[in-house]
């Protein structure tokens, strides 16, 4: 394990190593794209806007790539940390916002809100709000299905997540096909895409929500550690399980809603990243949350660079890339667990 036994040292090691990796990934993300840029050109562009030279000229870096790369970082951090928290809560390494149905739930609200044209109102906040409402509804439904005789069966939970996810997808598709909106645009967004006409607005919403959600999850990380011994033993260690479940799932849903509103469904990030981080830095939820957030940010920034750089000027939806990488890993964990 990197950083030895002490939690504090492992946290520091994770922050230093992965912080550096994130900086590097962001640099790669900024340099990748249809228009070639030198490092000097990138820095000059950013400097000009930060210092406010007043020209107001449109630029590739400031207006397009920088917000997009930062958005990828925020979404990657949120989804990966959300996956880590859900896995800790459910005691199952296969849980993540996508597999437990949260993402699909959020899609319904967000796409309905978009098809009604609500994204132009109230600075765009109505989309994540709508996403949160349906995401929470989906998760409540999954819980209701998985609760048997007062106990939450983990395998039923995952299965219910998939069923509820499909249900919400079907409703979404139905509503969209019945609407007259620009369906092609919404479907592209659904498949997971960071292409946005107004990336700074989405980034502004997303990072605030993610900051709240991530801080909240870190607050509950010690309780999640106790959950590793099971719900009953966690209670006997002083955790109120029902309260913890409500908070963690609420925070993950909140963060996921903002991510989905900005970039549609990006699956498997919350699965792959915590799996790897647990191997590198151990299973303590505090190091796991911090390392997953940073590594998730790296992963999505690089995946986005790949999406833009593989066949320019065309873009591959980023959700396609994460699914292509994530699905085999999901399968590998599933078969090794024998679950």
């Amino acid at each position: 394990m990197i950083g030895g036994t002490s939690v504090a040292r492992r946290l520091a090691a994770a922050a230093a190593l992965l912080g550096a990796a994130l900086a590097l990934s962001i640099a790669v993300g900024l340099a990748t794209g249809a228009v070639g840029m030198t490092p000097q050109g990138i820095l000059a562009d950013i400097q000009a806007h930060v210092l406010g030279d007043g020209t107001g000229a449109a630029s590739v870096i400031w207006d397009l790539r920088l917000p997009r790369v930062l958005l990828a970082a925020v979404i990657g951090a949120m989804l990966a940390a959300g996956g880590a928290a859900l896995q800790g809560l459910l005691g199952n390494p296969l849980a993540e916002p996508y597999t437990v149905g949260v993402s699909s739930g959020c899609v319904l609200g967000a796409s309905v809100a978009m098809s009604w044209g609500l994204d132009a109102l109230h600075g765009g906040w109505l989309i994540p709000l709508a996403a949160f409402v349906t995401g929470a509804a989906a998760v409540a439904l999954v819980f209701a299905m998985a609760r048997r005789a007062g106990r939450l069966d983990v395998n039923t939970f995952l299965l219910s997540g998939i069923i509820v996810g499909s249900l919400f997808w079907a409703v979404t598709t139905f509503i969209l096909s019945a609407s007259h909106e620009d369906i092609a645009r919404i479907f592209l967004w659904l498949a997971g895409s960071l292409t946005s006409p107004d990336p700074w607005t989405y980034l502004g919403i997303c990072w605030k929500v993610a900051a709240v959600a991530l801080a909240g999850l870190f607050w509950f990380a010690r309780d999640l550690n106790a959950f590793a011994l099971g719900e009953e033993q966690a209670r006997q260690l002083g955790v109120e399980p029902e309260r913890l479940k409500a908070w963690v799932i609420g925070l993950v849903t909140l963060g996921t809603a903002a991510c989905v509103a900005a970039a549609g469904v990006i699956g498997f990030v919350g699965l792959i990243v915590p799996h790897g981080m647990r191997r590198l830095f151990g299973a303590d939820q505090r190091t796991l949350l911090v390392s997953s957030a940073l590594a998730g940010a790296c992963l999505l920034v690089l995946a986005d660079a790949l999406a833009r750089g593989l066949a320019p000027p065309r873009e591959i939806p980023i959700g396609v890339i994460t699914a292509a990488v994530g699905a085999p890993i999901f399968l590998a964990i599933l078969t090794r667990k024998g679950a």
Partner: protein, 423 residues
């Protein structure tokens, strides 16, 4: 001593209308080591769940130090009570050290990062349970017994006054069962812990607990010191099982042995109404007596001294027998009673026992029965079992008997020989 844990008229269960505990009341004093025993489904674990604030009673209260456990917050309760479950499944690779550190959970705030002091305390706790060497190992890859010790160390880290154990040894082999219980009992003494342990195995409960509470149908069937509680009638009543209760020679505590299966009096394969007399003593007769009873024959026995395990066996199995006072030589009256039983029987079994002046008469009786035309079968034993302390007279008598008697090397052969003759 004051009561630490009080269960007050508690009724509790999991589905409405089907209470598992019915108006149960119990109090545990500070420093006591109480075992809770009972058949499956009698409510033992439910009692622990009520006491551990995991299950809210429908009626009544569980009090810790005079305060309702539900009026204490989960954290406050966890600082006073630790629970060791049957088994712990951990989905991720936490190290043993990290697992033990979880015991600090109720004592520290959400943003507390464990420091060197916490780690030293955890290593001490691991050391106390003899698992210091496991600190860096994953909780998932150590054995069940080791994991249980780590969980006990975690419980110690909570610095509790009350330790609740819910069948802590259910999934362990015999060696680890002993190990975990002797560990808990030592720690309880050292740290003045009060322990309430659900123990499936009555022998373990009797060996380790000062007090045993027996549950039956959601109520308390017996409560007291092991020797008062563990009795054959109580076990027959609560468990519906035929067990023999003996005293452990080293500790004086009761322990249980399964009673031989009930015999079938009319088993036609074995011949009807066959009578067999067994001449034994010094504990040599047990296997033959139970095998013959099991065959469904009517068995008699003699002469055995009161206090001898053969005599206890006869009483336990209702075998008519001739008994002599403890450590006394066989008196002429007893000898003739013995001979009468022997000559009335269809066959006489002589077991291998040590011969001294006191029981020499048993060999004479066997010889007399043989001379009176009874069939005598000698059940062979080892040389040790047949040592002669009479200066040769016993050995000579035995040799004379064995010249003409049939012999069997095992109880099965013995039964076969008796049955073949009868048929």
């Amino acid at each position: 001593m004051s009561d630490l844990l009080t269960i007050e008229r508690v009724t509790a269960g999991y589905s409405p209308g089907r209470p598992v505990l019915r108006e149960i009341s119990l109090s545990v004093k500070r420093g006591e080591f109480v075992g809770v025993a009972g058949p499956n489904g009698s409510g033992k674990s439910t009692l622990v769940r009520v006491a551990s604030r995991s299950l809210r009673p429908w009626e009544g209260r569980a009090l810790l130090d005079g305060r309702d456990v539900w009026s204490l917050g989960a954290r406050e309760f966890a600082r006073r009570t630790a629970v060791v479950p049957q088994e712990t499944y951990v989905p991720f690779d936490l190290s043993a050290l990290e697992t033990v550190l979880l015991g600090r959970h109720p004592h520290a705030g959400p943003l507390h990062l464990e420091n060197a002091a916490d780690e030293n305390a955890a290593i001490e706790a691991l050391d106390a349970v003899g698992a210091a060497g496991l600190a860096r190992r994953s909780i998932r890859e150590i054995s069940g017994g080791e994991r249980q010790r780590v969980i006990v160390a975690k419980a110690l880290m909570q610095e509790p006054a009350l330790l609740l154990l819910d069948e802590p040894t259910a999934h362990l082999d015999v060696a680890h069962q002993m190990e975990v219980l002797s560990l808990v009992s030592r720690l309880a003494k050292e740290r003045e812990l009060t322990v309430v342990a659900v123990l499936h195995d009555l022998n373990l409960a009797a060996a380790w607990c000062q007090r045993i509470v027996v549950m039956h149908g959601g109520q308390i069937a017996a409560d007291g010191a092991p020797n008062d509680v563990i009795t054959e009638p109580m076990i027959a009543h609560v468990w519906q099982a035929r067990m023999w209760v003996k005293r452990h020679p080293a500790t004086g505590r009761p322990f249980l042995l399964p009673a031989p299966p009930p015999f079938e009096p009319e088993d036609p394969r074995n011949g009807h109404g066959l009578r067999v007399h067994v001449i034994c003593g010094g504990g040599s007769g047990g296997p033959a007596l139970s095998a013959l009873m099991d065959a469904g024959w009517s068995v008699t026995c003699g002469v055995v001294n009161v206090g001898d395990s053969d005599e206890e066996m006869c009483r336990a199995m209702n075998i008519p027998h001739v008994a002599e006072a403890p450590f006394c030589p066989v008196s002429p009256e007893r000898a003739s009673a013995n001979l009468r039983l022997a000559t009335e029987a269809d066959a006489v079994v002589l077991t291998a026992f040590c011969v001294g002046p006191g029981n020499l008469d048993n060999l004479r009786t066997a010889l007399a029965a043989m001379e009176a035309g009874r069939r005598v079968i000698y059940l062979r034993g080892t040389d040790e079992q047949t040592a002669d302390f009479t200066g040769g007279e016993g050995a000579a008598l035995l040799a004379k008997i064995r010249e003409r008697a049939a012999e069997a090397a095992s109880v099965d052969e013995l039964r076969a020989k008796i049955a073949e003759r009868a048929a």
